[in-house]
């Protein structure tokens, strides 16, 4: 008997492809035989643009890679440039960065749990998670001036110190969050429908996951104990103690559990960092790189000249190349910068976690029903902003 496959086009406007992802699927009945992702619908050429922007001007472009976790993108970029320049940043700036990136992890994982649950049919979790996310968004707005495109970190530290009442706002999130997580768990963890849709779905073995280059919670769900915050610390992560959760069964349910534990660990890191937060400067004393304080600009001619120099030319970076990877909410986010000694990168390459994780989709969903593909997309937690760049 000869067999005919059917080709189905999913996306780029499909609500559960999490952005403008297009998948061309070959089906044998309802069984998936082949998946070809077509990407590029959100391409804005960030890497190329950065070659024509000073190091300073590239920061707001990085906000728009993984737009669900802008501060993590900023952090990776500024750390890479700081490494290139050999700048030490003040401890307070480092601690505030850790607090904010961990809040970003919460924010990103909240969108994940919301959309993942919605895709599988649990509408309630979506609404609750977005309610909690709003708290983090408001904190973002208060501290950086924008709900999503934060642009708060600078090469050398932060653009401004935290606002009055920052501690109180963070404390409120820290205090209420474990309760919210219990709510989600109450709705999902033992829910029969949820279990039937996630247990045994999207299995990828540890070897396959490593071969495909998967990172982040998707890798840890397959039982690989690897977290850059612990294994290659940056921004002072070595000072905090936290557990790195790993899964056993390599399926969607284990990745769900890993992310939930990660959220609880993120809260513990925030608590530790808040305790360690001491008053002090938030911008490095690096006149070659950082703007002078505004009082100097308004009141002294030296300050004014200094300000003009930084604003008009930026700063030259020494010739060389750096790679800085960070543990973003979705996996290893890396910035590779080549400098020819000028004030702009000669070439910048971003290693987005979602792009690499997406490459494993066929391995994870082959042989499954087409309805399960939606769960696989959800569990990969991809965001097209950073895939297409």
């Amino acid at each position: 008997m000869n067999k005919e496959t059917m080709t189905v086009n999913m996306g780029p406007q499909h609500p559960s492809t999490h952005g403008v992802l297009r998948l061309v699927i070959e089906l044998d009945g309802e069984i998936i035989e082949k998946i070809t992702p077509h990407i590029g619908y959100l391409h804005r050429g960030v890497e190329k643009l950065s070659e024509h922007r000073t190091y300073h001007q590239t920061i707001p472009l990085t906000d728009r890679l993984d737009y669900l976790a802008p501060m993590s993108n900023n952090l990776g970029y500024v750390l890479a440039v700081e490494k290139l320049m050999g700048i030490e940043i003040p401890e307070r700036a480092e601690t505030v960065r850790v607090i904010l990136t961990e809040l970003t992890r919460l924010k990103s994982h909240l969108v994940w749990i919301a959309c993942h649950a919605l895709d599988i049919g649990a509408m309630t979790v979506f609404i609750y998670a977005f309610r909690e996310r709003e708290k983090v968004m408001q904190l973002y707005e208060k501290i950086s001036g924008a709900r999503m495109t934060s642009n708060y970190f600078r090469v050398g530290g932060l653009s401004a110190d935290v606002y009055d009442g920052f501690e109180k706002d963070v404390q409120e999130i820290v205090d209420t969050f474990p309760g919210h997580l219990d709510t989600y768990e109450g709705l999902l963890t033992k829910n029969t429908i949820w279990l039937q849709r996630t247990v045994g779905n999207g299995v990828i073995s540890a070897e396959d996951a490593i071969d495909a280059g998967i990172t982040g919670p998707a890798l840890r769900g397959s039982g690989v104990d690897w977290d850059l915050r612990r294994d290659n610390p940056y921004s002072g992560y070595e000072k905090y103690s936290f557990k790195v959760p790993v899964g056993e069964n390599c399926d969607t349910f284990d990745r769900y559990k890993v992310r939930l534990i990660e959220m609880r660990e993120a809260i513990s890191i925030i608590t530790q960092a808040m305790k360690a937060l001491k008053p002090g400067p938030v911008l490095a004393d690096e006149p070659q790189v950082c703007y002078p304080p505004k009082e100097n600009v308004y009141n002294s001619i030296e300050g004014l000249i200094h300000h003009f120099k930084i604003a008009s030319e930026g700063f030259p970076a020494p010739e060389g190349e750096v790679y800085q990877g960070i543990e973003a909410p979705k996996g290893e986010l890396g910035y590779y910068i080549v400098s020819d000694g000028g004030n702009k990168p000669y070439r910048m390459r971003v290693r987005p976690p979602s792009f690499v994780n997406l490459s494993a989709i066929e391995k994870m969903a082959k042989g499954a029903m087409i309805a399960d593909l939606v769960a696989v997309i959800g569990t990969l937690d991809i965001v097209l902003g950073e895939i297409d760049r």
Partner: protein, 132 residues
Amino acid sequence: MIVPLIKGLQITFSHLFKKAVTLQYPEEKPVVAPRFRGLHTLKVSHNSAKCVACYLCPTVCPAKCITVEAGEDANHEKFAAVYEIDMLRCIFCGFCVEACPVDALGMTQEFELANYKRTDFVFSKERLLEKR
């Protein structure tokens, strides 16, 4: 098998009696943070714009959306004869405000910028001047 579902229903049911968090926009307006980066404003002092047309803001702008042309006024002072920001290209990064050496530029709490024509998004100097 049915128990977890009932537990879940309990959780949703308990939410029925909590205060609603939805903001009824546009009837209710959100409270916008003081640091919010909204529509730009050209600050005024002594009845004229503080801008001295130093060209720093168009230089740092990553979106290249500011147009400044310098002019000379009656007292032979440099001033911005043309000052335009194309809000369609602006990414609201705030670098222009950070770069201004004379504190002539600010960003307001205004976030409702929708309009009908593309040309309406190009804000001229008159439209950007601080309202008193």
